[in-house]
Symmetry: C2
Subunit: 321 residues, 2 copies
């Protein structure tokens, strides 16, 4: 169903029906299709294509408040749009469309492209956002120094921005990028190195507690494995992970076994639950082997990302045949 | 080396030397040890243990500005601390320690514990943070309604918070949690469903462009695989992924092969680069098999997270022996 047209770029009825460009600067791909939950059939759009913006042109590059209204509201359910700012007019319109606060700022969150870790959060003026777009370096507004601030300009710890994402309210941005060195001025990997625990409503050490950095599950697992490796060097307590680390031949045997067990969940039609469980086992054991070889999941993700960047992981895989 | 004491909880000289509790409410674990970069030997601490806070007690639970000074500054390099707010006094001290803006608010970022996706960002007052701690439901301050706002209170799309993280400046929080349903009021999985592309300083479709949602590499790869699956149903263009999806027996063969090749990087000492590359291959092929079985990486991560929650992935793995 191709109901999207240039006139109305919001009339798609489904998340996953389009992959081509629709209208000007609006493209729909099924990036949300992995959601298991059902999306409501009728929802109000807060999204806004660049081509549909009401523009207030200005040559000034200083921060200022910009009010933009949506020309029309459409019922739609697609999630995922691309706003093309490739020409000066679109860029201006996009920058005008942001809902700056009374200080002329929006929230800007720098996130690690490979791990998903939130590295830092600061505020960005119109000028800071524009500079980020023009230079590819995460740029903010330093409220203490009242000046534009490209992260890394003094420390060389730049954050190379690979993509920029804006929220439904247009007052918050994600700079998704690759950090050069630590992102925190303290030398930490991320500014969010402190975890608050012990509160009544939060789980104790069960399910996610006590990890300090706001890592997601994959990197929490890696942290656990790496800490076993470090403990092992100083004679830590026995664990399955440390046993595997000290006996990489056993670890290899397990990796092969788990790969076979994952395949069997298909071959013997054992059901989704078994597939998820065996994939978890395979992932865990192969991560232990990687940790033994001092290879991190960041290293692995970088390989995958760079394959996307050239001709896709698929073609790379095909070349191996 | 156990140089940390209750008197000075910031004298640790290394990220990874401690795993036990040190002082009151401060624990150091090697969650940052996976960083490849060298950390500077001497860095200034902006971190601040709850036990070291200068407290300004107040029974009022309304938003207000709170100034907290660090009692002492220490040179240290550890990254990763736990602030225990398990008793009323510590909770009060922590809430006082946050640097609220002139409206009495800090930034609060809700992040998906399994995928790392930033779900939404809003602002939180002292009361909102406290309510989050007490209820385990992500709570903000609605600036439009001038009222406390627990996400999901009208839609039932709560975000169950598993841990809370605070940044070095104490003016920004991460609510790391598990969303129930879509997080965006538009029905989208995350509020950041729009990508801005075409800017001069950003890579084009290479390395990370054109993905709409601010997904990290693992979930981008999954999106690509899932979109191939959807294309296949409607006769998409040929690709290695679609070939594997239409021939799951071949996919299984590849999963077993790639597992073997990963092991060989250890067995034949092929070096880190080969290990990362083979792990990438194994991950990709096993993800295709999972996609064929309608199992998402979110499903897999949930399995892993729940294993952490009970007795650790290691013990679970051990039980299988």
């Amino acid at each position: 169903m191709k109901s999207c047209t240039r006139t109305c770029s919001f009339k798609c009825s489904s998340v996953s029906q389009h992959t081509g460009r629709i209208g000007r600067g609006t493209r729909v791909i099924p990036s949300m299709a992995r959601q298991n939950q059902k999306l409501p059939v009728q929802i109000k759009s807060q999204g806004l294509g660049v081509s549909k913006m009401k523009r207030s042109r200005s040559a000034a590059s200083t921060a200022r408040i910009s009010l933009v209204t949506v020309a029309e509201e459409h019922s739609h359910s697609h999630k995922g749009e691309v706003l093309d700012v490739g020409d000066a007019e679109s860029m201006e319109a996009f920058l005008d469309s942001l809902k700056y606060n009374s200080d002329g700022q929006v929230v800007a969150i720098a996130q690690h492209v490979d791990t998903g870790a939130v590295l830092m959060q600061a505020f960005a003026t119109r000028e800071a956002v524009e500079k980020t777009f023009n230079t590819g370096k995460a740029t903010f507004y330093s409220r203490s120094r009242s000046a534009l601030w490209t992260k890394g300009e003094t420390s060389d710890n730049f954050i190379n921005v690979l993509s920029v994402h804006v929220d439904c309210d247009r007052d918050s941005l994600i700079y998704l990028g690759e950090p050069i060195g630590p992102s925190c001025h303290t030398g930490a990997y991320t500014c969010y190195y402190s975890e608050v625990t012990g509160a009544e409503g939060l789980p104790a050490s069960a399910e996610g507690g006590g990890v300090e950095a706001a890592n997601n599950t994959l990197y929490r697992l890696q942290d656990t494995i790496v800490s076993r490796k470090q403990e092992e060097a100083t004679g830590g307590k026995p664990s399955w992970t440390s046993k595997l680390l000290s006996n990489p031949e056993l670890c290899c045997k397990k990796v092969r076994e788990e790969a076979g067990e994952l395949c069997e969940t298909f071959e013997k039609q054992e059901g989704k639950e078994r597939t998820a469980s065996e994939m978890a086992d395979l992932l865990y054991h192969s991560m232990v082997l990687c940790a033994h070889e001092d290879v991190s999941m960041e290293d692995v993700m970088e390989v995958l990302r760079k394959r996307f960047g050239v001709s896709g992981v698929e073609e790379k895989a095909l070349r191996k045949k």
